[in-house]
Symmetry: C2
Subunit: 314 residues, 2 copies
């Protein structure tokens, strides 16, 4: 491996500044980053990855920071990866909630990284997973993956996490919307946050009803539903118990292994696919495409004719 | 071209049953679908594509059906493509709002198609665009693309649409959430629907403020903001005027052409990429991947070593 702009040993010993540099190095896909990730992969220490997701305004950032502090108080080193949805049109990340985290950022046993999601084609899931590997190798035993977004990013989180927590609020409709957005299927643990508001008991019951409709036997994990008031820290210790319970159940049933195998399979597919596409789209191919765009609009060539030309061009 | 399970002439003459069969044929990527799309592409008649998106509960389906009826009353043939978010975990589409549309479905000048979104890798945008081509070739002059989802699907809509309408409700926070979700940048027209509720004037002002912060000159389209009460049909005629205004402005500035060129460029890239990946992942490659998954978890091979093996295997 060539020279790196940071010390790999310092990353592995958990030195924050080197970790931050290493993550930037990976995010920017700088020369040698695959070799670096290859080394990192071998040094993973079985850190546990917890995804925290849910609709906007459900209090995910507060939950994440309270969870981090509690895990730290229990003696763990905690890494946080917070994914900000970036507009693909402006390229700018919307911060805000991130700022509130800065207090805990100074804690030597907590490391926080905000990441922008970058375009489609698995960009987000890819780097979330790879950055998790870096934190894992750097000795963070708990890795919290928080996504502020909705839609695709939740699926990316669940692909990167061992346990997925879906945070909702009691307001009527939130459960229905979560169901529509596919959140019900990905949750290992549900939080009804801001549970001092009216409707929290009803939200719990709605989720129970939906869960009750599913087939299950004794090997099935039935998602826990936990009421929290994150701003006061209420219920946060119950989240930690539920995560442990989920982890133990999965280990007993062999499903943690299965989940991680699925994750690795997707990772390889994405790596290979990215590699294929990068190799294909050389300058010549890009020129053929760009020089034919007006012809397409003017019906002088169809997309399918152009496809054949591009694929058969050597 | 081989034999098709429907008559291409009946599709082109707007026969609904044949159109429905043709769309299924394309959605299922049945043998010969690319050749069919190639023929369809040449027969497009410059139909105008309008995307309708926004957060859940904003009334998109109602807006869409009211718009369809009004366009039809003006003498246009109207096609509707409604994209349901499908959970990638269950494979099942969540219907609901779709049911309400069935009344207008019987109108001979309105064609409605519900589509499930299928996985990532541009699956949704691809079929939305291709199905729009089919409707265009079948003589639908107005094509309404409605997405119930949030997140990625909006971006897919904007890639397929000539004009994009973002529907919001007055409730405080909706504008902020729309901003976070990247909806502000994609809107050519904003609707404040359910504008009889409190806060609608404030919502209009918030959007105006955000829009005012952007750079613009006389060639820039400044998004229109329209208050509607879709259930009563109030304001729907203003949407149609705004769409026409946007279309005329884009034609004058040449940006409609540019938007369509960008759309075709993405289409080709997706076609080529899908083709590459399909060719790569043959049985042999899949076997190499599957037989190494446990080795990955057990650290006997890394993803990057496996990548090299897969790419170099002939």
């Amino acid at each position: 491996m060539g020279s790196l702009p940071f010390s790999i040993n310092e990353v592995l010993s958990g030195e924050k500044r080197s970790i931050a540099k290493a993550i930037t190095f990976v995010e920017n896909e700088e020369k040698g980053y695959l070799e670096f990730l290859n080394e990192i992969y071998k040094k993973r220490k079985n850190g546990y990855r917890i995804g925290i997701t849910g609709p906007p305004g459900a209090g995910k950032s507060t939950i994440t920071s309270k969870l981090a502090i509690l895990y730290k108080d229990f003696g763990f080193r905690v890494g946080i990866i917070a994914v900000d949805p970036t507009s693909p049109f402006t390229g700018g990340a919307l911060l805000g909630d991130r700022v509130r985290m800065s207090a805990i950022e100074l804690d030597p046993n907590i490391f926080i990284r905000s990441m922008a999601s970058r375009g489609s084609l698995g960009g987000l899931s890819k780097s979330t997973r790879e950055v998790s590997d870096v934190l894992d190798a750097a000795g963070f035993e708990i890795i919290l993956l928080e996504t502020v977004g909705v839609g695709q990013s939740e699926l990316d989180i669940v692909r990167a996490a061992d346990t997925t927590i879906v945070t909702l609020v009691p307001e009527s409709g939130d459960v229905i919307q979560a169901m529509k957005a596919g959140l019900m299927e990905i949750a290992d643990i549900f939080l009804i946050n801001k549970s001092d508001r009216p409707g929290s008991e009803q939200a719990v019951m709605s989720i129970q009803t939906i869960l009750g409709l599913r087939d299950h036997d004794e090997t099935t994990w039935i998602p826990k539903i936990i009421k929290t008031i994150a701003t006061d820290g209420k219920g946060v210790e119950n989240i930690i118990s539920a995560v442990s319970e989920h982890k133990n159940k999965m280990e007993k049933e062999g499903s943690l292994q299965k989940r991680r195998i699925d994750r690795e399979k997707e990772r390889i597919e994405e790596l290979v696919n990215q590699n294929l596409l990068n190799n294909f789209w050389d300058e010549k191919k890009k020129n053929i495409l760009n020089s034919n765009l007006e012809n397409l609009i003017e019906n002088k060539i169809t997309p399918y004719e152009l496809l054949n030309r591009l694929v058969n061009e050597k």
